[in-house]
Subunit: 383 residues, 4 copies
């Protein structure tokens, strides 16, 4: 059987935990579902523990392993580095990869600080001049319902935006016995709910509305200040990040926005909710029902006006023509498959994928402003 | 037919618009549904326009009319004044009534300013010493689902409270052609969404949690600064109140709260939503579905845990034993009927009904702090 | 105060339990909310136990009591008899009242048998010739959301109807310890879920679609055949009615319908659900959320198509202009208030109110066909 | 890199349309997510059109193609035949494959007639004696929410079952202009909604309850009797299958069930809804929200009783420990991945996977009884 071949795009992945699993499944599934202009090849996976890395490589379908990410950069069979590590190594790996001429897909948040994000963005700009592409993994832009929301706003179905109302609610820290992992330590995670969850919703709010956040007033809380040290025989250590954060904001146009991110919302598992109210329509979404978008069109005749529950599985909906018949719903991981499609397409076309490192930096500026405001009596802080 | 008679409680009502209609229906329905210790008698309705007042009196079932509210205070057949006027006359009428020895039910918000609310509260305290009772009409405390929520929190089914998330969304100002009524003028309405909608949700948040708000950081917006003057031949005038307000807050215990009140949420008609997350459970409510309360109990076995949709129509639920069989839902106006029951019961027992004028004053303090914070760069403002 | 007076309509009510309470509240509330052409006066309430009847009369606001319903028919101050008794006395009372020249409002189901319903309908026709009106109390026609559904179907927003899918689910018999009340005895109740719940949904299906049911195939079940006799010291007696019934049906146009009525649907309290699918649209309703109607319009652009959740509280919706602002929801009992309005209006205008006794008879024919089919191997039975 | 290797399981797939795409993705994803005891190898894909088959093979990751399915049976690198063709070839291919010693996964419905299904089942029994396994692809058994429902019923959380209420609603035939494809022709499809959708819900109802259907009474309809012939220049031909079917049924225990399957439910895209009411609890499910199961437990304290919305994404839920963190929802296609896991596990263990061909035959018996009843005045027909 002589099958036609598209050009390979060798992928080197750093990190193989939660995000590594999701990304590798996307790399394998995307070419089965979409017509990709390049053929992803899972060239090598990198992890410091060779045995664990080899087990992950076999499971995820990578052909080889490395134990030092620098070695990935020297491989000719790798054209793209997929950075799936914790935030404190994003800057170093991404910058080196871009300088080595490798395209980079970096997980969110882009970095743990504005300074790191600035350096990464500068590297991305330099690389771009050489045709090397970079993307930050705000995968929720690729939820079909949110991509549809973006289209509806962009095509003026929502009109002048008055309100954006966002919350990202999880509950995995509600139990005070949950241990003091690296995610609860400022030096590793940068921040808590702010960076992990807040970065998603800040990016989404700006992406959906096509507007930047111009200023914020923030407040944060750490409800459980001490937690058991893992393997610490009952000793506890201080939690040095925020358990929850809330902030008000204004968009460029004067719209009023509210944001909340928390890991203490008992019973809410992954409730990223966003509602946008405009002069010509309203939209509402909840990630726990990610195949649905609610849309209210005040131009409907008054007798039958109401929020429409759109099941975003029609062929005309973003990304859907490649999937199943109407009503056959997608899952969370499909966002990564869509991300792969868009990234590979941009690389093949020689265009810049979105969201860019500059977009990631802009989010970082907003998060920093929230943090600064919270530290200064919630004073209004321009971004 | 010689029927047993309970003692009469003569009601004099000032104002007969939206709230007058709702209150008078409650006065007539309450004794038909509940065993009341006093028999409400609709003695007289007061309005400046005699013809209009007489029409209203006939429709609502009042026996007589007055055109000056002071005349109501002199009537022997009136023991209670029901104040249903706009906020700018609440203080004068209520204080005079209390001084005349009449019980007072005053619509919310208690007043248009802290100073007025303080004077009213002082009058209420003086009257109380003489056995004269007063109550402010935060009727949503009497939504059965919210009364149940209060019980669940009070009985520790929610545990230590981490988050309160409240929004009160309406959309009747979304159209810029809506005219410049008194509700949009600061001198009459005091404020906009803040006082009208915000007072409800501030009271509810404090009532449900049993905690006071200790500080706030606020922001407000007036999206449509000029509107057509009614009968003004196309001329416009300035809107001098807020169209929308948002604020973050802390409760005494350190819980983090977010609030939003707006009349610009296209498609949301009366969406007062409140969610409380605690260490032992969570509650969620939406006034557009006022017969339902959602409750998540993390003590449920993990396989079947989830938010329970409680249809609050069981005989054991607050106020429900007097109504219909399970599943036969109540409406918005029933909150006023419940209010009448509780008020009449307190008067008969010689106890103080809740919420008191002092409660109304406390809400006014919070609203003032929000206003002050919004005026000062959202700076954190203690209450 | 000389108030303008409309002519009185004296009401005599027979029975004062659940339905008596609901009806009397409606008689008192309707003139407060609607502009009625006649003024209902609660003249006399009839019950065999004088003390109980007097207590009920006082609570519900009736001026007098009778202990024999025949006495009501002789009173000059009574123009209308409101029959709120169990089904086995509907025929006798209604026929006598009509012959006495009194208008009749008779609770549903019209009767316990086709023969009784036929006699009642004949009496109604005779009375009609003398200007005496009659109505059967299928109150759910007056749920605003269902009245809206009727309008949408009548104005061809649903197109050619393909499917009607109805279930009426309650659970108050799920517990086998529930006692053997009269409702579970064939000689008093006629039937079980079939007559009590089934009559409602058969009427609704025909009312909404404007079509009659042409044939049925039925099956029924009695899950708990013996129940404790009230005050029977532990002895049990046989349940002689159906606990649940299900049937398929065809409408005149060929549409396919499914029906189910049960008192054994654990957790469902009053879930009357109806869905209609047509060539141009679909409608869905659940009585537990009676202020909402779902409507899908396939003419909406495909990208934003979906079931609209219509909050049926807008001024343009049926009955709503007389009530509260948008989003201020109504309750179950309001259906009776609307029924009073429509009945009083018809009486004043000299037109025949709907649903007529003939409509009630037609429902009885359908129920009988279901019963006959269930008794004969579910054989298809024309109506 | 020397990775540990599990033994290969060579897969030969016949057919590569909708089901072929879903199955092949599952074969590729399952080993990435689950610890499988055998390693699926996509050996060859079979299609009559070589060019199309090669394109499909490349896209889906198959190493080779065949144009005659018999050739697959002769390949040593194929141990399992995955039958994804229309129903009229299921019997021939499956029987030949089993006789050739290949395990078989056959798409549902098992066959177009009882006779075919009997022959297949006999072949499966013979093959089983030689250690050759067979499975019919009722993939919805592997929706985690439905697998959880099965567990809850099996562990007596629902008690004695009273009602099963099932509908499978789609709308792709609502437009009369939809062409006359093979699915609308009896000779190819066997039946319409009955076999395509009805087979799913009959299997589910029996699987969830652990009971067989003992008898049925059915009715069917063909709303649009003529449709345009594809490429027929406007000519039309007769639709020879049912557009919709409805039937009542009893389970072995006496529970009452209602079923409906249609392709004319405007606005419903893939609404497989199932509700089970029992003496100790109730369950409700809708495939359009496949990550959710509703469960009502009457043992909950009455004040907080209600249907719990279980987000079936917890590690303790069926299949979920291998996937993502709580709240990160799955999609429709994951049911096939779960099916692969269970099938491969059974093959490796030498046990019989479920559902068996005998299960498929039993469903066929029920469908036949429905058809027979519908043809005989809906007369009750034992299965």
């Amino acid at each position: 059987m002589a099958l036609p071949q598209t050009q390979a795009l060798g992928v080197g992945m750093v990190g193989y935990a939660f995000m590594g699993a999701a990304h590798s499944q996307a790399w394998r599934t995307a070419p089965q579902v979409f017509d990709l202009p390049l053929r992803p090849v899972l060239a090598a996976l990198c992890g410091r523990d060779r045995a664990a890395a080899e087990a992950a490589a076999q499971r995820y379908g990578f052909a080889d392993v490395e134990t030092d990410w620098r070695a990935l950069l020297e491989r000719d069979d790798v054209q793209l580095i997929d950075v799936c590590t914790p935030g404190d190594s994003h800057a170093e790996i991404s910058i080196a990869a871009l300088e080595a001429g490798k395209h980079v897909l970096c997980e969110k948040p882009l970095a743990n600080s504005v300074a790191e994000a600035e350096a990464m963005t500068a590297a991305a700009v330099r690389a771009q001049a050489r045709g090397v592409r970079s993307m930050v993994g705000f995968n929720y832009r690729r939820v079909p319902a949110l991509a549809l929301a973006r289209e509806l706003i962009a095509s003026d179905r929502v009109g002048e935006i008055r309100h954006v109302r966002v919350s990202y609610l999880q509950d995995w820290l509600a139990d005070p016995a949950f241990p003091l992992t690296w995610r609860l330590q400022q030096e590793h995670a940068g921040s808590g709910a702010l960076g992990d969850l807040g970065s998603h919703v800040v990016d989404l709010a700006q992406y959906l509305t096509g507007q930047l956040i111009s200023g914020v007033s923030g407040v944060s809380a750490t409800f459980v200040p001490e937690r058991p040290i893992p393997g610490g025989d009952g000793r506890t250590g201080p939690v040095t990040v925020d358990d929850a954060v809330a902030f008000t904001a204004r968009l460029e146009s004067g719209a009023l926005a509210t944001f909340e991110a928390t890991r203490f919302a008992t019973g809410r598992k992954n409730a990223l909710r966003i509602e946008v109210n405009g002069s010509r329509g309203s939209l509402a979404f909840d990630l726990e029902r990610l195949n649905e978008l609610e849309f209210c069109d005040p131009a409907d005749d008054p007798a039958t006006q109401g929020f429409r529950r759109i099941l975003v599985t029609e062929p005309g909906h973003p990304y859907l023509s490649a999937w199943w018949p109407p009503g056959h719903v997608l899952g969370w991981e499909h966002t990564f498959t869509h991300q792969v499609r868009d990234l590979v397409t941009a690389i093949a076309k020689g265009t810049d994928p979105e969201p860019s490192f500059a977009d990631g930096l802009q989010v970082q500026h907003v998060l920093h402003a929230v943090w600064a405001s919270a530290a200064q009596d919630s004073r209004w802080t321009p971004v």
